[in-house]
Amino acid sequence: MNLAEGVQYISFLILAFLVIGAALGVVLLSNIVYSAFLLGGVFLSISGIYILLNADFVAAAQVLVYVGAVSVLILFAIMLVNKREDFSKIPGRWLRNVSTALVCTGIFALLSTMVLITPWQINETGPFVENTLVTIGKHFFSDYLLPFELASVLLLMAMVGAIILARRDLIPELSEENKTATALTLPERPRELTSASK
């Protein structure tokens, strides 16, 4: 084992430890803000593993999308709600915990068998990829064209939905009788924006 391989091996161990540790922290900590920050840590460590796999573009995209956008969005949601609530004691809480543990162990067992039965032999004699970006682009516009375009449609749908939700004036007026049913409606009514820019 030469220097480069040793560094790679040790980096992989450190990154794997970080991913697993941070992920456990996300699930087990009771403070939701810590969980959100640790989720960012999980994403960062995963991008480190991508770098070890020579996938430089995927690693940078992982940082940009997951750390820079998804984690920040989650943090925003938590901090704007800003309601610190301790978990109240529910009778029979242990039952829920046990069932959660059962489901999680089941999923873990399924994934482990998948990992064990999949042949991970990689054809190492394949051509060395000089520029991963060009290779990814070629795949996107040839054999992965349909998933690529479908993903953009999905994002467009999400964007339209977010705009509809943000613009309350597009929601039709509620009739008088179901105005009291506030269980599923948004708590605010459309209001005149105080336009400060005039």
Partner: protein, 372 residues
């Protein structure tokens, strides 16, 4: 492409001349460029702090610092020493872990981004394929640190400042990336070296600033907003938020924020000069001049001269941009938060999109001039 000076090989060979095995020599080489870059960035910050004080004094018809060293050049050093020796206060109800981690998360990505800043054909720490994209990705980590420090301070001004900072840097990242994307499309590569190479050959006429007049304005505005410089320094607007997310910080942790913001400014100026002002290129195409004079491009003194000129040109261009940024800070009033978000989403974003489309159209129509 000429190979130029290869510092790494000559360093390794000289170490092996002393009888060291090649692996060990390589181990000695690995940290050297990074340490050099960290020192360079820190010295750059000291210079910028001094410039900021002197130029602001000139803008307000004062003298500015003058007792510490000649013309007050040692004033930033004195500031730094003061901050190092101050007491490290953590507020009583603050979250000590997040409070400490926040400034670190803000500073680290900025220093990491120096990996991709080239000062010459071979004078760059890593020439990676994703180059400029790495800078954009790393700069998106900073909002997490800002949110973290704002939340951990347990102070409503801090929290508001942190939220504002994150909102601001997310909104301005999009026009910034679109402006960079137009450049990348013209140079067919994300690597900073390729971007500069594509601009070289015609001297000042080949620089991207002539081909991307809209893009460079968008980039500059967005970069100022990302650095939280004054027309856009809402996260720490004194009249509204005391000092935003920095309110509770003192001593070395405050110094980290301070250092981070100035390193970010220098970095943005360096990236700007790489993207739009031809990086290490001299305004006159020197290779052609050397050819006319009959000097071979492999002559050693010419290579040393070119490397020195390259570093000087990169630094000069970025300090010119920093000068503009400082002048803007002391002459332009602050915008309001709604104006800031309106400018980002309703003006810069559509203009940047249109710029990208027009660049694509021009690239197809005139592949000669727009790097087909």
């Amino acid at each position: 492409m000429t190979s130029g000076i290869d510092l790494q090989n000559s360093f390794l060979q000289s170490l092996q001349g002393f009888g060291l095995p090649p692996g060990l020599a390589k181990l000695f080489w690995i940290p050297l460029p990074s340490i050099l870059m960290i020192i360079g960035a820190t010295v750059g910050v000291l210079v910028v702090v001094w410039l900021e004080r002197k130029i602001s004094a000139a803008a307000q018809q004062r003298i500015g610092p003058e007792y510490a060293g000649p013309l007050g050049v040692l004033q930033p050093v004195a500031d730094g020493i003061k901050l190092v020796f101050k007491e490290d206060v953590v507020p009583a109800k603050a979250d000590p872990w997040l409070f400490t981690l926040g400034p670190v998360l803000v500073v680290l990505p900025v220093f990491l981004s120096y990996l991709i800043v080239p000062f010459g054909q071979n004078l760059v720490i890593t020439d990676i394929n994703v180059g400029i994209f790495l800078w954009i990705a790393l700069s998106s980590i900073a909002p997490i640190g800002l949110l973290m420090s704002g939340y951990a301070s347990n102070n409503k001004y801090s929290l508001l400042g942190g939220l504002r900072a994150a909102a601001q840097s997310i909104s301005y990242e999009i026009p910034l990336s679109l402006a960079v994307l137009a450049i990348v499309m013209m140079s067919n590569s994300l690597s900073t070296i390729d971007i500069v190479d594509q601009q070289s050959g015609y001297g000042i006429l080949g620089w991207n600033i002539w081909r991307q007049p809209v893009g460079f304005l968008i980039f500059w505005i967005a970069a100022l907003a990302e650095c939280e410089r004054l027309p856009f320094d809402l996260p720490e607007a004194e009249e509204e938020l005391v000092a935003g997310y920095q309110t509770e910080y003192a001593g070395m942790k405050f110094a980290l924020f301070y250092l981070g913001s100035y390193v970010n400014l220098v970095l943005s100026a360096l990236v700007f000069s790489v993207l739009y002002l031809g990086g290490w290129d001299f305004p006159i195409p020197l290779e052609n001049v050397a050819n006319w004079l009959g000097v071979a491009p492999t002559t050693s003194w010419l290579q040393v001269l070119m490397a020195a000129l390259g570093i000087t040109m990169t630094v000069l261009k970025s300090y010119f941009l920093i000068f503009i940024a400082i002048l803007l800070r002391w002459t332009v009033p602050r915008v309001r938060i709604d104006q800031l978000l309106n400018l980002g989403w309703k003006f810069l974003l559509p203009v940047a999109l249109a710029n990208l489309l027009i660049t694509a159209a021009l690239k197809l129509t005139f592949p000669m001039a727009f790097g087909g």
